[in-house]
Symmetry: C2
């Protein structure tokens, strides 16, 4: 399983580094942005601890860390919507990763059955922030897939 | 300036809500994923507190919260690479926002001069995680723009 070295103390060194030293936060987590390799659509955002990141790099399938359940989960284990990782990219200060994935199953990332978790636009009217759906298509029925 | 109501205690209500009740974390922050409206390319990841999110929605230009400087910053104020926000989208559990932006200036989001902060792919060899550049183009010279 890949091992990660500690980040350098001088953050300026991170920009051009050729060694991957992910900067986990004070809870040991890094943010993962997940996009569909077909068209760059943003599918979801999740968190990884070092073990989830290692498992992702080792197996080629996305693994995340659930903050509510305090556990590693392999994306799609229940729904069948696995995420095959085609490329992992990190950012300038190495505190986030971008996963370019191909989905199996229903090709949907969201637990609501939608392709992407980002399906509502924010609008503001008279000082109130509202949401308007931009995607009502469901690739699967959550009740059938996850049960009641 | 838009005001945000508190999220409901029952998280299941967030999925289909038509009211935007962003779930700021224990530090009062929400994650923002920023993409180029032209081709969905992921440009950067940043954080917002309630004020930065309000300013973004009110002015139509991206404002973030710097955790290292403990201050709101308007993206591009120094470099000229402002981010005009074409759409704000939130995810199922409302703890992240996706900004679709048009950039002004050099059309680059990264302080290194590159279009995107995500310019290095992670590779693993013999259990070590290395980085390989996938974008060496610089839209501007950081030393000229930010000074030494």
């Amino acid at each position: 399983m890949p091992h990660f070295s500690k980040p350098p103390q001088d953050k300026a060194l991170l920009d051009e580094a050729t060694v991957f030293t992910p900067r986990f936060d004070d809870k040991g987590l890094i943010t993962a942005v997940v996009i569909d390799v077909r068209d760059n659509a943003v599918l979801m955002l999740a968190h990884m601890n070092a073990e989830a990141l290692s498992l992702t790099l080792e197996t080629g399938f996305a693994h995340y860390y659930s903050r509510s359940r305090n556990a590693i989960w392999k994306k799609g284990d229940t729904s069948g919507n696995l995420q095959k990782v085609e490329q992992v990219v990190t950012d300038c200060d190495q505190d986030a990763v971008l996963l370019k994935v191909s989905m199996t199953g229903h090709a949907a990332a969201c637990h609501t059955g939608r392709r992407s978790c980002f399906y509502r636009a924010v609008t503001t009217e008279n000082g109130a922030a509202a949401l308007a759906s931009i995607d009502d298509d469901r690739a699967f029925d959550p009740e059938t897939v996850y049960g009641k």
